[in-house]
Symmetry: none
Subunit: 409 residues, 2 copies
């Protein structure tokens, strides 16, 4: 824990106030001539958000990780949850597993895997086994699962994904990642050996041996399959031992997310997964219903990012307007502190995540009023929160909820 | 290397995109009543810069080193080049030597020196020897150079500067700085002994002995000179072993600078020195000509700083207008990412460098558009880049050039 985190922890008090974070995934955007020099937030009609802004909000922009760094969903959300994503790195295997909706335990090591095709000499001839059907992948995973349940004292869990993709989870004592890939990254080469990234790390060495042993048992089981007679493993990583929201902030947190990835990310930090919700209106209704049961609500909305990734400006505008239309449901039972932001920007013009600081808005009794008319990137540039690292958002929310004692006399 | 720098290094990809950094030295300024509450950037007529801004730019302000710290040219430029000037300290002896246009090698130890006057008891009676003429300084340096070429296994290089100033370079194995000055800082005292700043540092101890030996040989050679019969050494420092642009960023970099100091600073980080240019128009023309040969161009313009140091507001306005008039030459062959800024502020009202964050502008396909009309200090305050440390500028340029992979999944 950094010295600053120690100070925050020492000043922290419980007061039962409610915090809500609404994440419009990939919300931030850039103005380009092609879209009349407007961003989707600027182009969208958002009467409810506008009214909220005028009633008194602080705005700013957040650097998701560090200047110029484009985050994946993992680092983007960890930062929103107040965990420095440079300090708490979550490997690809873990993210992929969470994305399949699979729960991981602290200390689990997870790897993403592909079925591939090997020739008689054991060289990779197709790294994706011709993108076999998902049903074939499910059958092969079942085949492996049936025969391989344990290696030594370590449990082995195998879960199918889409097409040729699956994940392998090792659950046991003293396991650690990351390891190098067994994927040679091009055809014509043999399957590589997974190696510890830190040769002195005993946990990584144990996993390296596990993977070698896993190959020794699994490859013969696939030998007669066509075209998927082999597999490659990538992003071998362990679930980091992250302190939970309860431990770190003294907050009982609930996640109102629809997509598995975000449910998984929220579970990484110990949030309770709320199921049975689909639309943003349902998410807000459920928030109102659960209001008394939790201290902190993470409400995740995917469609802004989807539209950005597709480069579909009109769809991103529409996603924002749909969110705005549902917003009164949440506002009917306002939390003490409400934050609305993204986990990063996904500019339509770039069709991808980006490093551009995402706009953020905080509304509370002590948020003050930036006297802006709307919630937009350009407006937020001049807001009272300034441009700051996303990992501090929760600190500002805690502060506005009166959850920090004074520092020093 | 910091953990963050390691992350940047890991995410870095080569894509052949061109980056150009135009440094208007000491560009930043402050508005005062004496100049109609305008800064030179605000007062200048800059039609070409204005058009660039309106076509889509992100603006912000950069803290050269840390809040309140006024940088010299060395730290100011190191930061622009992405090297934390607190971490990579370049001693005065090194800067002074570079300023004379002398090339240094990694590991060289350089000191700035003054000829001084000593009385019969060896006490300093004039720390500057009455500011002897430059020709006298040159003669004395030649005298010392002719007799002192080596001390033990270390090469000794002596270069005259203006008036009483010269520099001494020790080139050899196992040398390190910094050491304390031999300048007693006031008249009536003896020449001090240069001492290691870290008494356990073997390299510094070797240099301390070298300096003592150098005095032992050099003072007798000057004994009959008047008034310059002694000398004082200050800022004894070694050229730090800085990773080059190629090593750190994978970029082949060229420096289009006119003044020796800036050529020297760019060489510190391994830039190729482009010679035979004088005016800003020639610098831009040469940039166009060299476009295919380099990945990164550092273009340095001195006259804004000169005017600021002189407290000459009109001259600073004129320097900006001259730059603006030449700008279309560069814009005829736009780089993927263009940044225009200063290495620090040099407010006319202060006649010196200052700590005020300098304005910065970035133009690229992904810069977005802050919807500002002009490039000014006040405008930049509300720009999308916010106020950030100058050492991150290159990271933003790399990001806008698509030179970083996504961080995490």
């Amino acid at each position: 824990m950094s010295k600053l985190d120690e100070v925050y922890a020492k000043l922290q008090v419980k007061n039962g106030a409610k915090l809500a974070l609404v994440v419009l995934d990939g919300l931030g955007d850039i103005a380009t001539a092609a879209t009349g020099n407007m961003t989707p937030l600027e182009a969208a009609k958002t009467p409810n958000l506008d009214a909220l802004v005028r009633s008194g909000c602080a705005q700013g922009r957040m650097i998701p990780v560090a200047p110029g760094i484009t985050p994946g969903s993992g680092p983007g959300h960890l930062a929103l949850f107040g965990y420095d994503p440079i300090e708490w790195e979550v490997g690809r295997g873990v993210i992929e597993t969470l994305g399949l909706g699979i729960e991981l335990k602290n200390g689990d090591v997870a790897a993403r895997a592909n079925f591939c095709t090997l020739d008689a000499a054991g060289l990779v001839t197709d790294r994706r086994a011709g993108r076999i059907a998902t049903e074939v992948c499910e059958r092969l995973c079942a085949l492996l699962s049936a025969k391989i349940k344990k290696i030594g004292d370590t449990q082995v869990l195998i879960y199918p994904g889409k097409e040729h993709r699956f994940v392998v989870v090792f659950r046991g004592k003293g396991l650690e990642g990351p390891l190098t890939d067994t994927d040679p990254n091009r055809e014509g080469l043999a399957i590589a050996t997974a190696q510890p990234t830190d040769p002195k790390n005993a946990g990584q060495k144990k996993v390296a041996k596990l993977i070698a042993d896993f190959y020794a048992v699994a490859l013969p089981l696939l030998a007669k399959e066509k075209p998927a007679n082999g597999f490659l493993m990538r992003g071998v990583a362990h679930q980091p031992d992250i302190p939970t929201f309860a431990q770190r902030y003294g907050l009982k947190a609930a996640a109102l997310a629809v997509y598995p990835m975000y449910k998984g990310l929220s579970q990484l930090v110990g949030m309770v997964k709320i199921e049975g919700i689909e639309t943003i209106a349902q998410q807000f209704e459920r928030y109102v219903k659960e209001y008394d049961n939790y201290d902190y609500f993470f409400i995740h909305y995917k469609y802004t990012d989807k539209a950005g990734e597709d480069g579909n400006f009109a769809a991103k505008v529409k996603a924002i307007e749909d969110f705005d239309a549902a917003l009164p449901i949440l506002l009917a039972r306002k939390p003490a502190v409400l934050a609305i932001t993204g986990d990063h920007s996904t500019p339509c013009a770039m069709k991808s995540h980006s490093w551009h600081p995402q706009p953020v808005l905080i509304h509370s009794a002590s948020s003050g009023n930036d006297k802006l008319d709307r919630f937009t990137e350009t407006g937020a540039n001049g807001g009272g929160l300034g441009i700051f690292e996303a990992k501090y958002l929760i600190r500002l929310m805690q502060a506005q909820a009166g959850m920090f004692d004074k520092f020093g006399a």
